[in-house]
């Protein structure tokens, strides 16, 4: 079963796939350029000690995104 949730609710090391980007135009463009297109595999791997930002493994590179932005990104999980 597919479960849709926002990216900031995805737990550390849990595998998710991009479903939709609801961010503003500028941010969206930047995220698309970084490769966050639909169905891309994304895994939160690091959490900042000062909170409010997490780093994600996207196609083997590590990209940090603030919670305000991940809140607007929806992902789905493939687990049953």
């Amino acid at each position: 079963m597919r479960k849709i949730l926002s990216l900031n609710n995805l737990l550390l090391n849990e595998v998710g796939y991009i479903y939709n980007l609801n961010c503003s135009e500028g941010v969206k463009k930047r995220l698309l350029d970084l490769g966050l297109v639909k169905d891309t595999c994304i895994v939160p791997v690091l959490k900042s000690p000062s909170k409010g930002i997490r780093a994600f493994d996207i196609r083997g590179s590590l990209i940090a995104i603030r919670d305000e932005d991940t809140n607007l990104i929806s992902v789905y999980t493939k687990n049953t």
Binding site: L21, C23, S24, G26, V27, K28, K29, R30, L31, L32, D33, L34, G35, V37, K38, D39, T40, V45, L46, K47, S48, P49, S50, K51, G52, I53, A55, G60, S61, L62, I63, A64, I65, R66, E68, D69
Partner: protein
Amino acid sequence: MEITDNVIVCVNLLDEAKKKHIKIDLNLLSDMLGVPVVGTIARKKSSLNNLLDVTYKVCQKKICPRPKKINYNSVIEDCITKLEIKLKELYDFPSNLYRWISLKLLENETDIISSIEKHLNVNFSENIEVEEMLENLQNILNNSNITKTNFRDNITSSIMKQAEEVCKKVCKFEDETYSNRDKKIDKILTSKTFGIPIMIIFLGIIFWITIVGANYPSQLLFSFFGYVQENLIDFANLLNCPAWLSDMLILGVYRTLTWIISVMLPPMAIFFPLFTILEDLGYLPRIAFNMDGFFKKCCCSGKQMITMCMGFGCNAAGVTGCRIINSPREKLIAILTNSFVPCNGRFPFLITIATIFIAGSVQGFSGSIISTIAVLLVILLGIFMTLLVSKILSKTLLKGMPSSFVLELPPYRKPQFGKILVRSIFDRTLFVLGRAICVAAPAGLVIWFFANVGINGESLLNIIANFLNPFASLMGLDGYILTAFIFGIPANEIVLPIILMCYLGNGTLVNLDDTFAIGNILVQNGWTILTAINVMIFTCLHFPCTTTLLTIKKETGSLKWTVISFLIPTVCGIVLCMFTTLIYNIFEIGIF
């Protein structure tokens, strides 16, 4: 590749790929893309010859690249073809451009379209046929659920999918665990318990090496310049140069200039390479990542932490470093607050004062610990003020929400030490030093003039100091100290020498190596623990030096922001000093 056929793909960092056991089939990549592919290791010059060779051949048309087209969604492809045909009827462009321009028109990328219009000298929006066609096509796209908002998504995912396919065929990961080491390091460096302490330790070590290590070359430079100075004086005497002129040039200009070089060059030459090593390792983005939460609360960027760290080395370099911040609002905040962190020039002064007054009674090792803590407290005050002022600026002058912050954390790499040395010394150290020298030479002249010219036997410097005295005592300082800060504006390093010069009544800057001798002079001139604390606060919070101001002027391109950057820390420093004086006085009255 959509604009021109003349494309060569260069695959760089092959050495890194090899280290991580990634095999790349360059021939297959070349076949799949339809263009020549050259593999390079940019660190090794010889590997670049092949690239030059291929470039030359393409220019000579010995190799003709035929880039493969990217296939988009079939509806989009249909629209592109229709528009392409129309454009071919109407305009005469280079043959490759029709498809690309059609795509951009459909995508409605206004920036790119207006630049196309400018370069090709056409105007699409005025052409009714193009407009009509576009409207039609937009309807077709809308009918198949491709709207203005998701057009770009669609295009990007087509490109991405094809790129992924190519990547899957061309690259072979022989070792699937290649990034595990990086992941482990990242886990520790950004962990909740160790992340921030490790960061402080790293920075602490760098400062310590800089402060301790800079002493020896500084002494050497001092004695060298001192030797040259004596010869210069002899030479001037030989030429029968009038005493006032030789004094002015040698004891004024030359002495201030060499003083600044001796105290500034060694710490910079040590600090910048060390900092560049951290940069090359890939640690700096992790610092920004660790600290982002705090900066977000103040509505600014986590990258400000990096520019702040650079500010510890030199505020001018820190201000230049603010270029890495994308949002103009956050960049301006970072520039304006940079001088809150004490730079290399102010550190020795802070340490001297802390050693004399705060650890003065305690000798030896524990004394050095106490003075280190005192200096650390001043640094923390600086960081706290940075955050506070950033927050206030975000709420008042530079209103705005924190912009989005997307930061790539690159894999760790082994730094190249030789290159770091060259790059940091030439790009940063000499650059900053050059600017400092431009200011120091005239400043030396001015200081000499004020110290040696006077009315009724009283030097101008004394007159100014006496004039400032009432105001300075409100701040718990004295007129000489404030005067020294004002004359120390070309470089903070000369503040203490000017203070000593005033107290000793000499007309030239004084160099004293013995901390306790300095201490005696200061105490004899009425310094108390309050004076020491306030001097330390004011050292941390006062107007940036002229080098930094010039840099701010250049970076912001505005006189207004330069003036504001001058005023903010000064006002903070004055208010805080007055506050501590008030508290101290209340206590004194209370006790007696």
